[in-house]
């Protein structure tokens, strides 16, 4: 699997050069593989065998059988290994991850190392949070990074018997403030709010939700182009807990104001660039669905009109809009 590697035309000279370079590397790689399998099949569980896997994994971090063998060796000679060994093991995976941040097997081995770390489990996992902070600083949408962060957090919570939800909420807020299109952070915001509400960790829930409404209002006025914030807003509009917590009047106002704001942003964009904002139109559709569901009086329903517009404005997805049109009452 290769991603993002530019195609190049191989001339005969280049090919010959590559073949020559590869020849030596292949020979040493194959001999390492052969020695490793020999050791493994002879149940060789020694420190030297670990070093053999190090050399092999340096050449090929995707060789999961080598990682497996490495773990089996470590497990069987655990009592002979000091703290320095475990620290080095973390260093080893870190060096590897810097080179190959998308290789699952390295992440797995790092988790295994941390899980088996012989002392100070909590401190070790807390240190890991700094690592993942740095990683997400470099690449704020890194899929492995966010997954890893959730795992690290849940380990720390488990070991410290405390919840990090509030701290994490501040963290995702700062990530979104830095880049409003960070969908990974919006996703995590949903997870955190859902969890905080269900665990009763928010003192004044209504106040919290109202602040959240202000937050998204601000967000759409800042950047209404990107789909991230809109998916989040759809969640807010539809999430039953939020509807249940707000008074009927507050919830109706929330929908109405959101609709007005979306229409206003859209009108501004039409004035400014002559183009409609498709996401403003889409959110209005969602709001009207809810309003109909709640039997709210809808002043000037626009769904039909907007769907017909969207068929033209967003032709890639025109069949979805036709489907929604067919479902309108």
């Amino acid at each position: 699997m290769q991603h993002g590697i530019k195609r190049r035309q191989w001339t005969k000279d280049l090919l010959d050069q590559k073949r020559e370079d590869d020849e030596k590397k292949i020979a040493s790689y194959k001999s390492l593989v052969k020695s490793m399998f020999q050791c493994r099949d002879n149940d060789d569980y020694t420190y030297e065998a670990i070093e053999l896997t190090t050399n092999l994994l340096d050449m090929n971090p995707e060789f999961n059988t080598a990682w497996n063998y490495r773990r089996d060796i470590i497990s069987s000679i655990k009592t002979q290994l000091d703290l320095g060994f475990w620290k080095n093991e973390l260093k080893f995976t870190m060096i590897q991850l810097k080179k190959f941040p998308k290789v699952y097997w390295i992440w797995n081995h790092r988790v295994w190392t941390l899980d088996n770390f012989p002392s100070q489990q909590l401190t070790i996992w807390q240190g890991e949070l700094t690592v993942v902070d740095a990683l997400l600083e470099l690449d704020s949408r890194n899929f492995h990074g966010w997954h890893y962060r959730r795992m690290v957090i849940s380990k720390i919570e488990e070991l410290s018997h405390s919840s990090l939800n509030k701290k994490e909420f501040d963290y995702v807020t700062s990530k979104i403030n830095k880049n409003i299109s960070n969908y990974s952070a919006w996703h995590q915001r949903v997870q955190l709010i859902t969890d905080m509400l269900s665990k009763d960790q928010i003192t004044d829930k209504v106040d919290f939700i109202k602040k959240e409404i202000d937050y998204i209002t601000n967000a759409i006025f800042t950047d209404a182009e990107d789909q991230s914030v809109w998916f989040y807003i759809v969640w807010m509009v539809k999430f039953p807990t939020i509807r249940a917590l707000l008074s009927k009047e507050d919830y109706s106002n929330f929908l109405r104001e959101l609709k007005d704001n979306a229409l206003m942003i859209n009108a501004d964009e039409v004035d400014f660039s002559g183009k409609e904002n498709v996401w403003c139109l889409k959110i209005v559709l969602e709001i009207e669905i809810i309003q109909r569901l709640l039997c709210e009086p809808i002043v000037e329903a626009v769904s039909k009109d907007y769907l017909e517009k969207l068929i033209k404005l967003d032709p890639l997805r025109q069949n979805r809009y036709r489907f929604l049109l067919s479902k309108l009452p």
């Binding site: 993002g4 195609r7 190049r8 292949i26 966010w146 890639l316």
Partner: protein
């Protein structure tokens, strides 16, 4: 801009893959070899050229990847077994009408069933092997494997399904585990798994519509599909997104002719093969998923692919339907 599908070139490209032993990349990718063979073979099936691979050689190779200690297949001889490679091995055997090498061999069948079932965890999820990595991909691997073997059981299926449903997010996408961000590849693994065990009806019509919405928003103006909001398009999502839309019967929610253009434009018109996007280096992974995407939208005379199994219908017709 490449506008034709270069069928002959792709066949030649896939054929050439096994002769690249003088390149370092060939040896460094042993851990993906069985998957690679499945990708190549399925690409050939879509191009109606299965016989380009010599059946006996390929079947022998698959059986040489069998891991006698644990049961299951490794990706290469002597490598450890893993659910990822195990599914590829079974897919290849089924394609070459050789699945009986496992199903008619009592000891191997017992071992492989134990290997697959043994990796299911208490919450219904699956780990890829004994080292505990959990991922919805492995649920798909396990259920698809058991299905090919004709050995799905409610004891395995029901908890697996319960876990998969927990991977569905608020936005209509699926994550690799509960709480993980939506990713298009996970839509395929989760919907595919539900489809294999005939449990799609556990999703409400509203949920299906939301899933379809998130999926169709993956199409970007260039015509290609991305895997998450704000990401670049990539040919492999032609499969992950499109198969998912096909499974929920909303294939027409994206513009398939624009997608076809994007895939065609990602071909290498000199040596064949398809890349992740126009101008990039090709590989067999993007080649098969590009072709599979084109097959799903009914491109010319390509052999029809089954969106649930990612194998052509002539192959999947042999799989018994669950519940038995």
């Amino acid at each position: 801009m490449v506008v034709e599908l270069l069928k002959e070139k792709h066949i030649e490209y896939v054929k050439s893959l096994d002769s690249k032993t003088e390149t370092l990349e060939y040896w460094l990718s042993e851990h993906l070899r069985l998957n690679g063979v499945y990708w190549g073979l399925t690409a050939l099936c879509i191009l109606d050229s299965k016989d380009t691979f010599k059946k006996e050689d390929v079947v022998d190779f698959v059986m040489s990847c069998w891991n006698d200690k644990t049961g299951g297949f490794g990706p290469f001889p002597r490598h450890d077994a893993h659910l990822l490679a195990t599914l590829s091995g079974l897919q290849i055997l089924l394609t070459f009408n050789s699945i009986e090498l496992i199903t008619k061999n009592e000891q191997k069948l017992e071992q492989i069933l134990q290997f697959i079932r043994g990796n299911q965890l208490e919450d219904g999820s699956f780990q890829g092997d004994r080292f505990g990595e959990v991922d919805a991909r492995f649920s798909y691997n396990a259920l698809s494997s058991l299905s090919i073997l004709g050995r799905l059981t409610p004891e395995v299926v029901n908890p697996a399904v319960a876990h998969i449903l927990k991977c569905l997010n608020f936005d209509g996408g699926f994550g690799l585990c509960p709480g993980a961000e939506s990713h298009a590849s996970m839509a395929f693994t989760c919907l595919g798994a539900l489809s294999i065990v005939n449990k799609l009806d556990l999703l409400s019509p509203d949920q299906i519509d939301t899933i379809g919405w998130w999926l169709c928003e993956r199409q970007v103006p260039e015509g290609g599909l991305n895997g998450r909001p704000g990401k670049l398009p990539d040919v492999c999502y032609s499969w992950w997104v499109l198969s998912s839309l096909a499974i929920i019967k909303k294939l027409n929610w994206i513009d398939s002719s624009k997608l076809s253009e994007f895939i065609l434009d990602s071909q290498d018109d000199i040596k064949g093969g398809i890349a992740d996007r126009p101008g990039n280096e090709v590989d067999v992974f993007h080649t098969v998923f590009g072709l599979a995407g084109l097959s799903l939208v009914g491109f010319h005379d390509l052999v029809k692919i089954n969106p649930t199994y990612c194998m052509t219908y002539d192959v999947t017709d042999k799989i018994p339907k669950y519940p038995y």
